[in-house]
Amino acid sequence: MSRVVVFDYGSGNVRSAVRALEHVGAEVELTADRAAALAADGLFVPGVGNFHACMAGLRAAEGPVVIDLRLSGGRPVLGVCVGMQVLFDGSDEPSAAPQEGLGEWPGAVSRLQADVVPHMGWSEVDVPAGSHLFAGVESERFYFVHSYAVQSWTLEEPTGAFAAVAPKVTWAQHGGRFVAAVENGPLAATQFHPEKSGDAGLALLENWVKSL
């Protein structure tokens, strides 16, 4: 059975994530303990609320180091919602105490330009061919709730020996298009909440857990 740590650095409602991962067969521990987070087969990084507050919380719990160490060893990490946004360079979200993102991927998080914001509800996603995460649920809707998103993907397309591991980017629309998910070797992330996306979300989490 795959062991997953849900990184407990003080970000909102994480109970559903724990239960959803258990539901799809993982053995789940909710903790911010560094050793446990490094040893787990998979690390789930949640995140709700303000980008900068999440970054501050992550830093206080040594999250950046834990994530870096895991990725350098090819160990899977899944970031969700703001837990995905913090993987980019930074955010335009206003803050009294601005924090830089983790910079795992280039790009900034910016406010959605739509008639109604937050983007709240179930949206379709545009999944690239060969996605492992979305296998079997490519045509389903997923539950989003956010006002900010990554709206351009600027990572250079890898060539040569690296072409085979090019990141798979899934898009969605609200006002304009934005990044809904990324699969990039051991690092994966979704802007939507798979743990709140009913059967489709559970299937996606199961795909991730089975890959660990």
């Binding site: 539901h23 709240m120 509800g121 949206s123 006002s147 709140k196």
Partner: protein, 257 residues
């Protein structure tokens, strides 16, 4: 690629039990909110709302327990409202497993509560719940002026409903649950004028509530500007299913999940 219109059943919970009768086949205990929540999830509900109508604060623990058990079994968003007065109340509900919290009277008494909650947990957790009625003219006939009410619609709060919704959005509310007290219980359809007026002034998601009676009531509410539609008794008594409402919306050209 538009976001789907959400169809949301609302359950009134008192001391751990669903009140206002529920008439569902295949349920061992129709008063158990967790079983009902699961049944609605299976029917295709896009979200669930629990309205805690428990009068005594001593019974609140029961509500936390229900939220906890529901969040462990039903993997769709859960909003909990009723009796939420402080940032700590919000914190406890979120920790129990709620995704969003509805605030009503406490925000009217002290609007800063909206900003405090939004600053601490993010706008997305805060649903401003507005119980609204039409002001009456001298002859007692309803006008096109809308007022916020408290105490289940029995008392006017002296606030213009449209201005209040706009102000709540400015203060950081993530969504508005707009409940027409005039339409509530009539089953004559949503108050479309109210929805249109609020839609014109606010750019956050709007949940229409009050008055649903037939499947063809829902699409007009969406055309008037609602992003989501909420109903209680028509679902509980099995008069309408979530699926029937979604079929009707789909036939009206409105995207649903």
């Amino acid at each position: 690629m538009n976001v789907a219109t959400r169809v949301i059943p609302c359950l009134d919970v008192d001391g751990g039990r669903v009140v206002k009768g529920v008439n569902f086949a295949d349920l061992r205990d129709a008063g158990d909110p967790v079983q009902l929540a699961r049944a609605y999830g299976e029917q295709g509900a896009d979200e669930l709302t629990f309205l805690d109508v428990t009068a005594s604060s001593g019974n609140r623990e029961t509500t936390y327990d229900i939220v906890r058990r529901t969040a462990e079994q039903v993997f769709i968003p859960l909003t909990v409202g009723g009796g939420v007065r402080t940032v700590d109340d919000v914190d406890r509900l979120l920790r129990a497993g709620a995704d969003k919290v509805g605030i009503n009277t406490a925000a009217i008494a002290r609007p800063e509560l909206i900003s405090e909650v939004a600053d601490r947990f993010g706008s997305q957790v805060l649903v401003l719940s507005a119980d609204v009625h039409r002001r009456r003219d001298a002859s007692g006939a309803p006008t096109s002026e809308f007022e916020v009410t408290t105490h289940g619609g029995r008392q006017g709060a002296g606030l213009d409903a449209i201005e209040w919704c706009a102000r709540a959005a400015d203060l950081g509310a993530g969504e508005i649950l707009l409940n027409s007290m005039d339409a509530d219980g009539t089953k004559d359809g949503f108050d479309l004028e109210l929805i249109e007026l609020v839609r014109r002034e606010v750019r956050i998601p709007l949940i229409a509530s009050g008055g649903a009676g037939r499947v063809d009531h829902f699409a007009p509410a969406v055309r008037a500007g609602a992003d989501a539609v909420l109903a209680a008794s028509v679902f509980h008594f099995g008069e309408l299913t979530i699926g029937e409402v979604k079929d009707a919306l789909r036939e009206g050209g409105i995207p649903v999940r």
